[in-house]
């Protein structure tokens, strides 16, 4: 029962209208081969959950500039003018979420919580439509968990059981998304034998990972 599959096999889990989580910070930590695979496959009307929409031609930015995304749930779109243009023309829905809240909502889904209380966004437009709860005299917003059908990850080192180690700032949303999607696919920059990653330093346990695709690197 090997988890290592072809790009096509892995991406068979993404069809039109699938909700997809893709990590990355302005492209760093984004699985480029899987993103390219989505473009080649030509799926559309995806709901994309990501930190930012990167730059034009970079990371998830490539998905934005094609007609693939129906809705994006994201914290920052300023570095990719195409996102704003499509939003203003009504071609794509943009749900802006504070970055810490986005991270915590994804973690919350993966950890089986019903949500959490955060001070972030109290007194701003972010509180619209949300329940406010007072704990110890302080007001918080109740933020609900956010899950997806598929998560596409990028691991610097991945062993054949799916244990992942991320280098430097590429970690960002990867370990959170690994727990919050029904199907989890990782692009392995370097595929190593089981046991090569110290069990102490595994950042995403292999039990969260369904499929491994070898990266191009």
């Amino acid at each position: 029962m090997s988890k290592i599959v072809s790009l096509d096999e892995a991406l068979s889990h993404v069809i039109d209208e699938t909700s997809v989580m893709i990590p990355g910070f302005m492209g760093a930590g984004t699985p480029d081969k899987l993103v390219e695979g989505l473009i080649a496959k030509g799926v559309k009307d995806l709901c994309l959950i990501c930190t930012d929409t990167a730059f034009p031609g970079v990371g998830v930015g490539k998905l934005i500039e094609r007609d693939m995304i129906k809705k994006v749930m994201v914290s920052h779109i300023g570095t990719n003018p195409e996102t704003g243009r499509r939003m203003n023309q009504g071609l794509m829905e943009v749900d802006l979420i504070p970055q810490g809240t986005l991270a915590e909502r994804i973690r919350s889904a993966g950890a089986g919580l019903g949500g959490f209380l955060t001070p972030t966004g109290v007194g701003t437009v972010v509180e619209e439509g949300k329940r406010k709860i007072v704990v110890n005299g302080k007001e918080y917003l109740l933020e609900e968990p956010l899950k997806a059908e598929v998560a596409l990850l990028r691991g610097t080192k991945v062993d054949k059981k799916g244990n992942i180690w991320y280098n430097a700032a590429t970690r960002n949303f990867n370990p959170l998304m690994a727990m919050a999607a029904k199907t989890v696919i990782v692009e392995a920059c370097e595929l190593v034998e089981v046991g090569e990653i110290d069990p102490n330093n595994v950042m995403t346990p292999g039990i969260f990972v369904d499929y491994i695709v070898k990266g191009d690197a």
């Binding site: 910070f25 302005m26 492209g27 760093a28 930190t51 930012d52 990167a54 730059f55 994201v74 914290s75 920052h76 779109i77 300023g78 570095t79 003018p81 704003g84 939003m87 943009v94 802006l96 504070p98 970055q99 810490g100 809240t101 991270a103 915590e104 994804i106 973690r107 955060t118 001070p119 972030t120 966004g121 109290v122 007194g123 701003t124 437009v125 972010v126 610097t156 280098n167 430097a168 700032a169 590429t170 970690r171 960002n172 949303f173 990867n174 370990p175 959170l176 950042m203």
Partner: protein
């Protein structure tokens, strides 16, 4: 030293030895260049590390280490990496001693508007709302006016980033502290008078009893 550099230098002097600091995009980034040599400050990068070092030299780019703007960055010995939930736990949980940000508007109650301008393209709040909700001290570093218009208001009119969040405002003209009793002028830049500040500040403020005059 231009106006923006002067502001950055003054903010850097407010930091304490051992502080963990998050610098926003733009003017706040310049603060890193003026941290006094006798103190140690740890820079937090909200995309997932502490111990951010100087910009990498040309040709030494490590694509895996980027700052919160997605630009090449470096990490100092003793720094460490973590995921985004931990990064914002650090920020929200009060483990960052100071966050230094720019602003479109600040008001005398400490309300802050720095993520959205009416009629301009939407950028998104990124991590700014978490930073101002969680950091122990929120320092706004900005030019006192924009195109001659006061940015320090009685009440913010632009969409808020957070309510009652700002502790200190450092501009090219002066420094205000925001206290529960109101906004207090604590320092004037060299050659600036209280009347000068009054003229370009829409907010009401008190004068600190030990109002300082800045050095050139």
């Amino acid at each position: 030293m231009n106006v923006r550099e002067k502001i950055a230098k003054r903010v850097a002097q407010m930091l304490q030895n051992g502080d963990v600091v998050n610098l926003g995009i733009g003017l706040p980034t310049l603060v890193a260049n003026y941290i006094p040599e006798n103190i140690e400050v740890t820079l937090q990068s909200e995309n997932g590390f502490v111990g951010m070092g100087p910009d990498p030299l040309n040709g030494q780019t490590d694509l895996d280490t980027v700052n919160a703007s997605g630009l090449p960055a470096t990490i100092m010995t003793g720094g460490s990496y973590f995921d985004s939930a931990t990064s914002f736990g650090m920020i929200r949980g009060g483990h960052v001693d100071a966050t230094i940000l720019g602003a479109h508007q600040v008001d005398q109650e400490g309300n802050l508007a720095n993520w959205k301008l009416p009629g301009k393209p939407v950028y998104g709040m990124g991590g700014a709302m978490d930073l101002v909700a969680g950091a122990k001290r929120v320092i706004i570093a900005m030019e006192h006016t924009v195109k001659g218009e006061p940015k320090i208001k009685q009440k913010c009119t632009y969409p808020l980033t957070a309510k009652r969040a700002v502790n200190t405002i450092v501009t090219d003209k002066c420094i205000f502290e925001i206290t529960p009793g109101g906004m207090v002028l604590i320092e004037l830049a060299s050659g600036v008078t209280v009347d000068d500040v009054r003229e370009i500040t829409e907010a009401d403020f008190f004068l600190h009893k030990d109002l300082k005059n800045g050095q050139e």
